[in-house]
């Protein structure tokens, strides 16, 4: 990977620092591949926060009461902030915010496949909080230990806020399942039927199909594999879902006494790759909505710039 003898020494020193638990900071030497992988991961992560506002934002005007509406607005504002924390972290690696936004709008950049599914009912807002934010927290808690200082700090800040997202969603599901009408309970079950599998896909391909993982783990960017995180999440959430009387849409789901784990049936990876490649149910709508927001915001950016210019004059 590195043939220059100077770089070999530096690479060794770099890996020693990581092994000692030190954070790599902007200005410190790092292998090009470390920088490249981080820019890829952090910018995708930032885009996911930004696009992630859309499925839930669609329900702000239709929230069932004022309290739920304020909670949902606060959550969507948080996601906007998370995008900002992460764009900042990526910028410290030498990519500009403008380049990242351009890549998102022209469709070159990726973001989490989960946000290309539609939010059909109010229960979907609750499921996104419990399962989607819950899965994100698993991943982000791991990334808070990341060897790159700015990414790690962004994750610490984000995880503290995500716990609110998870709890408000779970609180809603528990409420509807324990004191809701039959119609509300059916709406909740329908949401679980649609979100369960896409949520499991959020953790990414199986370890055997994630070629980047060994390097990411060696350099302390990730500390756990996709399958490990997915299984931890399944084990934590399945008993909670079943205790509410919900049916998990997986006929093969079974508890393995020997391993102490809930084992699931096969994940439909064809669907996952279709969505990643842009053919999910909402890919085109999401990008069109981002483009529209960007275009509609132009006059605001122009006005703000004009004001600043006037203040200087």
């Amino acid at each position: 990977m590195q043939s220059d003898p100077v770089d070999t020494d530096r690479l060794q020193e770099f890996e020693t620092r990581i092994a000692r638990g030190e954070k790599i900071e902007p200005g410190d030497w790092m292998p090009d591949e470390y920088r490249r992988q981080l820019i890829r991961m952090i910018s995708q992560h930032a885009h996911s926060e930004v696009v992630g506002m859309l499925p839930e934002g669609a329900w702000i005007t239709r929230a069932p009461n004022l309290r739920r509406k304020m909670v949902l607005m606060a959550k969507v504002q948080d996601e906007a902030g998370h995008g900002q924390y992460l764009y900042h972290a990526a910028e410290t690696l030498g990519i500009s915010r403008e380049e990242m936004l351009a890549a998102l709008l022209n469709g070159r950049a990726k973001y989490s496949s989960i946000f290309n599914y539609p939010t059909l009912t109010w229960a979907d807002v609750a499921w996104i909080g419990w399962l989607v934010d819950g899965a994100a927290i698993k991943n982000q808690t791991m990334l808070a230990h990341c060897s790159y200082g700015p990414y790690s700090r962004a994750m610490v800040r984000i995880c503290a806020e995500e716990t609110f997202h998870y709890k408000q969603g779970k609180e809603m599901i528990v409420h509807y399942m324990s004191s809701g009408t039959p119609k509300q309970k059916a709406m909740v079950q329908d949401g679980l039927n649609r979100w369960w599998w896409p949520m499991l896909m959020m953790f990414g391909p199986h370890d055997t199909d994630s070629p980047n993982s060994p390097l990411l783990i060696r350099w302390g960017i990730k500390t756990k594999s996709n399958d490990t995180l997915r299984q931890e999440f399944i084990n934590e959430e399945v008993p909670e879902l079943l205790a509410l009387g919900l049916t998990i849409p997986d006929p093969q789901l079974a508890f393995n006494e020997a391993s102490g784990s809930w084992e699931i049936g096969p994940i439909n990876w064809d669907e996952f790759w279709q969505v990643v490649r842009g053919n999910g149910p909402m890919n085109a709508e999401r990008l069109a909505a981002r483009q529209q927001a960007h275009d509609n915001g132009l006059w605001v950016r122009e006005a703000v710039a004009a004001y600043a210019a006037k203040q200087q004059a």
Binding site: E98, S152, R153, A160, V174, V304, A309
Partner: protein, 176 residues
């Protein structure tokens, strides 16, 4: 025609007795709007009592690794008149630790000289510093104590933003 604005580094103070800490950056056309952006991005929850913003170009940043690789910082061609630099350091590898914190002031003609003086002064525990930032005081725009009510106090009333508001939510463990 539609380009990004300059970047401002943001420093947040959580209580009057704590140091300002670097928390990230925002883009804005001027310092006044950077301060407003910083409030929306970094202070959606309690607590903050003060924010500073500094144009990224005014920050002289250097890591211990860079100092070790190049022990004598290049001296400036001509020393102009001295000014006050704020010194910020990162001294911990703990993951929850914020990046660089404000630890004091140094008067010098350039940031490089300010760094040398700071390292020689013995005031900043220089052997334990991983990252130094030197920022000319004149480049800082600060929120005013009079801004606290409008910028920071409203976050206290939005209790539903706090995870503690929801208590312990678990259908399998003891319901409360």
């Amino acid at each position: 025609m539609d380009t990004q604005w300059p970047r401002y580094e943001v420093f947040k103070q959580d209580s009057p007795h704590k140091a300002h800490e670097a928390v990230g950056s925002v883009h804005a056309p001027d310092a006044e709007m950077a301060l407003l952006q910083a409030r929306d991005v970094f202070v959606r929850r309690p607590s903050a009592v003060s924010l500073w913003v500094v144009p990224e170009t005014a920050v002289f940043a250097i890591t211990a690794e860079e100092i070790a690789a190049n022990p004598v910082p290049p001296l400036p061609p001509i020393a102009t008149h001295a000014q006050t630099y704020l010194v910020f350091t990162k001294t911990s590898q703990r993951r929850s630790m914020t990046f660089v914190r404000h630890v004091g002031e140094i008067v010098a003609a350039t940031p490089q000289i300010a760094l040398q003086l700071a390292m020689e002064s013995g005031r900043f525990n220089e052997d334990a510093v991983f990252v130094w930032w030197l920022v000319p005081e004149s480049a800082i725009t600060r929120s005013e104590p009079g801004d606290i009510d409008s910028l920071f106090t409203p976050a206290h009333d939005k209790t539903y933003r706090q995870q503690s508001y929801y208590g312990f939510v678990s259908p399998t463990r003891n319901r409360k």
